[in-house]
Amino acid sequence: MGVGAGPPLREVSAFVCVRTKSLTGEGQLQGRTMSLVTTLWSMQAAAALTLAVLYAVVWSIDRRNLANLMLCVVAVAMAIAARDEVGMMHAATTAQYGEWARLIYVPIFFALIGLLLFVQLFLGTGRLWLLWTIVGARLVMLVGNFLTYPTFSWQEILTLRHVSFLGEQVALVGSTVLRSWHWLSLASCALIIVFVADAVLRASRRGGAEGRRKALIVAVGVGLPLFITIVYAEAVLLGASLPLLVTPAFLITFLVMAVELSRGFLLTRQTRQELEELRSELARAGRVTALGQLASALAHELSQPLSAILRNAEAAEIHLNNPEPDLNELREIVADIRRDDQRAGDVIEQMRALIKRRTLQMHPLALSEVVEDVISLVHSDALARRVALDYVMTPGLPLVSGDRVHLSQVLLNLIINGMDAMQTCPASNKRVVIEARPREEGRVEVAVTDYGPGVPAGLIDRVFDPFFTTKSGGLGMGLPISRTIIEAHGGRLWAEHAPAGRGLTFRFTLSQAQGALS
């Protein structure tokens, strides 16, 4: 395992095995298998590195979230610290022990600073002056550590003792001489505890369920292990008969962070699902709004066949009152009534399809049919507003892959938009042109052009901003919803100034369906 099985460690392990044999007489078993300490610490280092990679990936996705980078640094530092701890535990001489103890200052420095910055980035409630004081103190300790021998705190390690730990003999300091400036270490540790406790308290006091949850995470995941480690380490430095261990307490950190990370992933999935639902709900709201705008025209569209049915029925009654009714005429009347009923039913069916809540269902579609459906819906409205609807279709257009209802909605939106844009134009100029033609790479492009006043050049991209509208009664949601729909189809929707120099052209692309021509 990467760090735990580095060359110096193997040397040490071999040495320890020989040594423990002489000390306990149980060395033969340990000599053949890897020592338990090595195994456990290697696993710990591996877990730390795995987490480091995970956090590095998470951070690379969202680089602004530096808290994740900090956790990555902490995890790497912990893996290295684990190696150094094994080195210390397996040290045979005071010199070896001192060397490992010296080295461990580096990962501890990075782990501490990483944790503190994480607390600050995660909670945002720490006192910055306290943070920078601690960083300064720890930096002084780190530099001082490498300027002196063996370590910053120990002036000299006089003897080593060996005690039984996890079923094997490990080295620990017997007697040492502490330096006078060891107080700096104590002070920095006290400040760290104060900083974290203060940040946690302020975060939980600031309130909110999320704030309290975060405070709890930091208290358990960072505060608790830091407290345990600092008290423990200071006890060792001051002469307690224990191995100098930093990393085990941080297993708690790893555990808490792993839980938090997976919770994040779950939340992301849930959020995405909610977003999907929200989007389909919004699209439906957009369709209902569009239909609302068309309401009176649709009423007209329905009243046309209904009034034809009424007049036909009245004519039939008159014929039936005749002593010798004209049966052929009556048959024709009934056939016409049936046809008009079908026509009214179709209008209602189309409206119902647009109102239904539904998710995207991709099918091969003939664009011409979709366009004709939409034109039949807006036909009356266009007539009432005296707008001419032109439809230009390249013959042999391939089928596209799409959702009929959602695409109808986009077309409906673009056409209504175009008609709205020409509200103030003279009747002779009111025209909306719908074009569909094949584009390169198996795509089909649809363009909806109006001959209205258009928008100023600077605003052309803003038309897709939510709530951007130039209409008095407009919500400003039609175009953003349309863009969302087209993007969900894997296409693009954009606006251009119309080629005629007046009005706007909205273009969108769709993928060609796999298969034959329409």
Partner: protein, 215 residues
């Protein structure tokens, strides 16, 4: 139905056009249907149409000429056909405008049959009246057109209530000549009394009376 005359149905929706034509034919009306206002105007400009009386039943909302524009075009073309408008969704401004331009009625497409037929009957009646007035006026104008300029001058004096002697003096002709002219006038116009002559002259608006100032 009692009223005579043609109902010109104008609607862009083929199935409604067919249905309403069917109904009106079934109740015994004479119906001609057109899919657009332009089509009706083309027909009306033909010579045969001038002899027909009738009314127009038009959809208010149509591509090309809409109902109101068609009504205007008819007025401009001198076709005094009364209009009944149909609408799928009645909007007040159009209705007001239509009535102001002399429409008989403004009905929903689903209006009850009796309402539709009553409106049409009224329209046909008015159409027939208008036509009768027009025909009579045309005949009168024809008769008046037969008068010579001198006879017109004499007629004007007669209508103003002058005696033959006064007329002769005013026009600088002999009294006997005036009598001759008067005989010619009554023969050409086919009237027997001066009173009748005055009524007819007023009817076609000849010689408007000068403004009378109060003494």
């Amino acid at each position: 139905m009692s009223a005579a005359g043609v109902v010109y149905v104008v609607d862009d929706d083929p199935s409604f056009r067919k249905a309403v034509t069917r109904l009106l034919t079934a109740v015994g009306l004479s119906v001609q249907s057109y899919s657009s206002g332009a089509e009706l105007l083309t027909h009306l400009s033909g010579s045969a149409a001038a002899e027909e009386s009738g009314c127009v039943l038009a959809d208010l909302c149509m591509p090309g000429l809409d109902g109101l524009q068609l009504q205007e075009a008819c007025t401009e073309a001198g076709v005094g056909l009364p209009f009944v408008f149909l609408t799928g969704h009645g909007d007040v401004p159009s209705a007001v405008s239509a009535m102001r331009h002399g429409a008989i009625d403004f009905l929903d497409k689903c209006a009850p049959q009796h309402a539709l037929l009553a409106s049409l009957e009224q329209a046909l009646e008015r159409g027939a009246n208008t036509r009768a007035v027009r025909v009579r006026r045309e005949q009168l104008e024809q008769r008046f057109a037969a008068l010579t300029p001198r006879e017109r001058e004499v007629l004007e004096q007669v209508v103003r209530g002058r005696m033959n002697k006064q007329i002769a003096a005013a026009l600088g002709i002999h009294e006997r000549t005036v009598k001759l002219h008067r005989n010619a006038i009554t023969t050409k116009l086919g009237v027997r009394s001066v009173a009748e002559l005055t009524t007819l002259t007023r009817e076609i608006g000849l010689f408007p009376e000068p403004q009378q100032s109060c003494p």
